[in-house]
Symmetry: C2
Subunit: 331 residues, 2 copies
């Protein structure tokens, strides 16, 4: 165990305490619910966007609460869904009278609890719409694309939907943008080591040193291929090919690429993956016009990375380029 | 080995290739020297700031070449100094007629090669001044403070000196600012696992799982204490106390805190350290008015973190708040 933690039972609450001490001008807790964090200031006049899920993925989810991004988040325990009550508290504090979009990854617990929260919100007179992020191309075949898991691509969905909400779009319009962004993206990942849960002190799964698992989920869900670790170029080939075969953008497409580190993988290695992705996408007739490279969605100290490709058009490019600001993300 | 790399002998050059492919509008190579990278655009009218050192620390060093930051960098092999020729190339491409500040960490190889480069630059008619970053409080006692190593605090030195250069300050003035910032800061770190060199495939030092080393250097240099891993609060206490006992700011001081991850430590854990630092500094009568929390200076996949405290006055606060922009750092 190589963790700088205190009592594991207090891990999430202490992390939140640290975040709120550090960023009191930007983030506040929702009334009466310490596990619901919302953007500082009034939500009036904007569609709210509430996200959430288990802890352990910073900057996801809390890191994307801010200007031009999400308006609130419900914070679960490590790798565990937040409760419907926590989601409801984030919803009420995010509602500015124009309704609230629920935008989160396609995981069973989250789907159930956001569903319950939507019912509770309706009792409170708050309209919600739900859009699931399901960008992990290797988690299910194309004919079951709507069962795929949500991974790092959710950051690009937040960016697009958040920019739409910020400029004053209506709830159906913000939801349409989120759906469009998600339909235009695919992600593929690779894991080289497991994450270790603070409370358990043990790996979430076994992956021998020197092996890799392509398509592994951010909680250690099974991938599509396990075998000896290959070179950065070979791994990038596997990921980019899986993405592009499924996404099949038109020749000459402009795309955005997100190369995301899962936690322990150095930034240097992410640039090796970017380098190969750049070459491969050019060979396939796509042009990278926007990119994020760094740790955007992690899995505690898991070694590994993911690549996301988002096909851009004028509308999505404008939303990606819009200003955004949170303690964890600025552009 | 859990590295996404190709041929280890090409590691640094391929990383640079990826960075230049990703950010061609912001970074370019100096004429004839692929290991010297400078900010895009003309250096005319500004004091240049050239830094450099071994690779494996991204965003340090290359990540701080940009607007309001450094103007050029010489890129060594992993954990190895760049050559005087590489430094000279960065110097020539960074010289806008007002001279060049050499601002880098206090390591033997770097001191030697930047010294040689300064002589070569003089032959070329370029004036240079050198300021060494030596913020690692645990690397030598107070009476030998100028022999201390340079670690994450160099990022704050870049920020202050870079802002001074950007607004048009003279070389002696930019050097004065750098010296002042460095004199006003201390850093203390902890390592929980070693980094692994790509070429060797082996740890740079042994640190048994479950042990920690307080004061460890970013290349694995010996620290001040090795023992069983303690809680996040206990570790933060050790680091903050070492910093504050040495720095001894006036009661009521306003300070900036940088909580830096060394590579594999999750952002969640950095916020636990921030939380405790916030409590301790308040107890000691200092007020945190600025903060950076994240991975600013790493050591490949080393698990661990450092804390830096910088005492602010009006001049340094203004320089910290000035706009800055590189592919790796924006504010």
């Amino acid at each position: 165990m190589r963790k700088l933690i205190n009592d594991p039972d207090n891990f999430v609450d202490e992390v939140l305490d640290g975040i709120l001490l550090a960023h009191p001008d930007e983030l506040v807790t929702a009334p009466g619910e310490p596990r619901a964090i919302v953007r500082a200031g009034s939500p009036a006049g904007r569609v709210g966007i509430v996200t959430g899920g288990g802890s352990g993925h910073l900057p996801v989810f809390l890191g994307y609460v801010g200007i031009g991004l999400c308006s609130g988040v419900a914070v679960g325990n490590v790798f565990s869904s937040p409760s419907a009550e926590q989601i409801l508290a984030a919803t009420k504090a995010s509602d500015g009278g124009k309704g609230v979009l629920y935008l989160f990854g396609n995981y069973g617990g989250d789907v159930m609890n956001f569903g319950l929260a939507a019912d509770l919100a309706e009792f409170e007179g708050i309209s919600t719409q739900t859009v699931l992020v399901h960008d992990d191309v290797l988690s299910a075949p194309a004919e079951k694309a709507d069962t795929r898991r949500g991974v790092a691509g959710m950051v690009l969905a937040y960016k697009c939907a958040g920019a739409a909400a910020e400029r004053g779009d209506s709830l159906p319009e913000v939801a349409r943008i989120a759906v469009k962004a998600i339909a235009s993206m695919r992600t593929a990942g690779v894991g080289l080591s497991p994450a270790i849960l603070p409370a358990a002190g043990k790996p979430t799964f076994e992956l021998p040193d020197g092996d890799m698992e392509i398509g592994i989920g951010i909680h250690g869900e099974p991938g599509s291929h396990r075998g000896p670790l290959e070179s950065a170029d070979e791994v990038a080939d596997r990921m980019v090919n899986a993405i592009m075969d499924d996404l099949a953008p038109a020749e000459g497409s402009e795309v955005m690429v997100l190369v995301n580190g899962l936690g322990a993988t150095p930034l240097e290695e992410l640039y090796l993956l970017y380098r190969r992705a750049h070459q491969l996408l050019a060979e396939r007739g796509s042009r990278i016009v926007r990119k994020y490279i760094g740790e955007y969605a992690t899995s505690l100290e898991m070694a590994g990375a993911s690549i996301t490709v988002l096909v851009l058009d004028r509308e999505l490019t404008e939303l990606i380029d819009a200003p955004a600001s949170s303690p964890f993300f600025r552009q």
